[in-house]
Symmetry: C2
Subunit: 147 residues, 2 copies
């Protein structure tokens, strides 16, 4: 007999199961970093920039949910690789304007696909219903994370 207690127990454990699941999946994703590629964090910032066109370092930090000093380092790394540039803000000289270079635009699609090959393979092993569950879960998690 499927009791109410089973449901309650399963619900109670959701926090812990979700925590373990996302931490482990993130470990696997970070491990899929080819030697010459940008890191997962750098890639995420590039994707954010592609979406917004241009952004100040502070805006990027807010979009990614990290502190400004963390974003400073990410931008510096991407600048070293020639994937983003900075321009002066027209009226506020405290701010910088960051945007993807041509090289950055050219690289991002390839990087995303290369990086996600492992995850693509895993997702391909699922059935349609399972993929639909993950699709909805991604929406819900994004909302919870305040992005």
């Amino acid at each position: 007999m499927k009791s109410e207690t089973d449901v309650v127990e399963r619900e109670r454990a959701l926090t812990g199961r979700l925590r373990v699941a996302v931490v482990r999946l993130t470990r696997r994703l970070r491990a899929q970093t080819p030697d010459d590629a940008v890191t997962l964090t750098q890639l995420s910032a590039m994707a954010s920039l592609r979406k917004s066109g241009t952004a100040s370092p502070g805006e990027l930090a807010a979009q990614e949910g990290v502190r400004p000093p963390s974003m400073t380092r990410v931008i510096a790394a991407l600048e070293d690789k020639g994937l983003v540039t900075r321009h002066a803000h027209p009226t506020d000289r405290r701010q910088a304007i960051v945007e993807l270079t041509e090289a950055g635009h050219a690289r991002i699609e390839d990087e995303v696909h290369a990086r996600e090959r492992w995850l693509d393979l895993r997702l391909a092993e699922l059935d349609d219903e399972e993929r639909a569950v993950l699709s909805r879960a991604a929406e819900i998690i994004d909302r919870m994370s305040g992005s």
Copy 2:
């Protein structure tokens, strides 16, 4: 008109959306670390130990999906805090046997709940159907991550 292309497009983007979602949620979870608490990684190892009772460092590393040197450090940190102990293996002196101390058992429930307060609050804001989606997603992600 809801075309087939929309569905295909949404499916194609699942990899990227899922990656972003789990990376950001993991960031938030790691940020919820009180000063005197064990870290998220240490907590995960403790939960693994609670489940298996005892385990060798190598078994723990495999359960958590990390390399042995990484687990060595996690165990050392927990030993320093008095939350786990090591015993000699009865027949193979290369191996160690790790288990939770009384203090470890006493602490783990509190730590888990303290750590997951933020996530609990977020989950409480969802409706039943959304929680059910996340519950299924956690199962699927665990399976994909090979745990």
